[in-house]
């Protein structure tokens, strides 16, 4: 596979999870603003870690198996895409578990151990009550 090896692994990850969007309607891609903000936070934090690790020599990448496109700090483009693809798959998996375990419409108690605290009918107590009422689509 040569220089496309790393990208092929990432494509495989995406392929393994993306079907959850149409089949289970996990509605992750449809909530693209929330997903984009999540990705932004993950990329900022973990690229910083990655750059520090590359600078410290903790790990390196085989030039023969990556695209060869290097971003500032010797960060391969492939590695940047890792921090985009893996979080997307993570959220897809998480929402798939929720789609199966707590289907929408089923009444939920606040103490429901399957809740994550961000459900539309969830009314957190105290200082977060206001934020809970602000529903944006």
């Amino acid at each position: 596979m040569g220089q496309l090896s790393y990208l092929a692994v990432l494509a495989g990850c995406l392929f393994a999870a993306i079907w959850l969007e149409p089949v289970l309607r996990v509605n992750v891609l449809r909530r693209w603003r929330r997903l984009s903000l999540t990705l932004l936070a993950v990329v900022v934090v973990f690229v910083a870690w990655d750059l520090a690790a590359i600078a410290a020599g903790h790990w390196s990448f085989d030039p023969a198996q990556t695209t060869g496109v290097l971003l500032p700090g010797q960060l391969p483009l492939d590695e940047l895409l890792f921090f985009v693809v893996v979080p997307i798959c993570t959220v897809l998996g998480f929402e798939a578990v929720r789609a199966v375990r707590t289907p929408p419409g089923r009444p939920r108690r606040p103490d429901d151990r399957w809740s994550a605290g961000d459900e539309a009918d969830h009314r957190p107590a105290g200082d977060e009550a206001d934020a809970g009422r602000r529903r944006v689509r």
Binding site: L24, A53, H58, W59, F61, C89, R98, P104, A116, R134
Partner: protein, 131 residues
């Protein structure tokens, strides 16, 4: 600092973000622990290819040397920190009101069909007690 120390600190930081900073408390919730094993399975597979084929190489001095499916054990900690941080931010944004809906499974014909079938089976097994 070795990768080993950095990975341990990463896990501690991610747990602190979840419990104290964003207060999403995912590590105390069943839904997180039901998701994590699924993701870790795929991580072992993809990370095993990346490390087994030497696409990513590690400085032997930066790791303890214990490997699981070719990957240094530190990668599991890195992965845990990343998965927890990702889901913590995602849930926090939802709590702040950023695109809570459409919820997972909303409008899905497959799940709706399975649920209808289960309900029908239950009411057939216990007539008069339909809940």
């Amino acid at each position: 600092m070795s990768y080993t120390v950095a990975a341990l600190l990463g896990v501690v930081a991610a747990v602190l973000v979840d419990l104290v900073v964003l207060r999403t408390r995912l590590v105390l919730r069943a839904v997180f622990w039901a998701t994590y094993p699924i993701i870790v399975g795929f991580q072992l597979l993809s990370n095993g290819i990346l490390t087994g084929r030497d696409i990513v190489r590690y400085d032997p001095a930066a790791i303890v040397g214990l490997r699981i499916a070719y990957a240094p054990v530190e990668d599991l900690l890195f992965g845990f920190a990343m998965v927890l941080f990702t889901l913590s931010v995602w849930v926090w944004l939802g709590r702040r009101g950023v695109q809570r809906t459409p919820a997972a499974g909303e409008g899905d014909w497959l799940l709706a069909r399975l649920r209808r079938r289960r309900r029908a089976r239950q009411s057939a097994a216990a007539p008069g007690d339909e809940h």
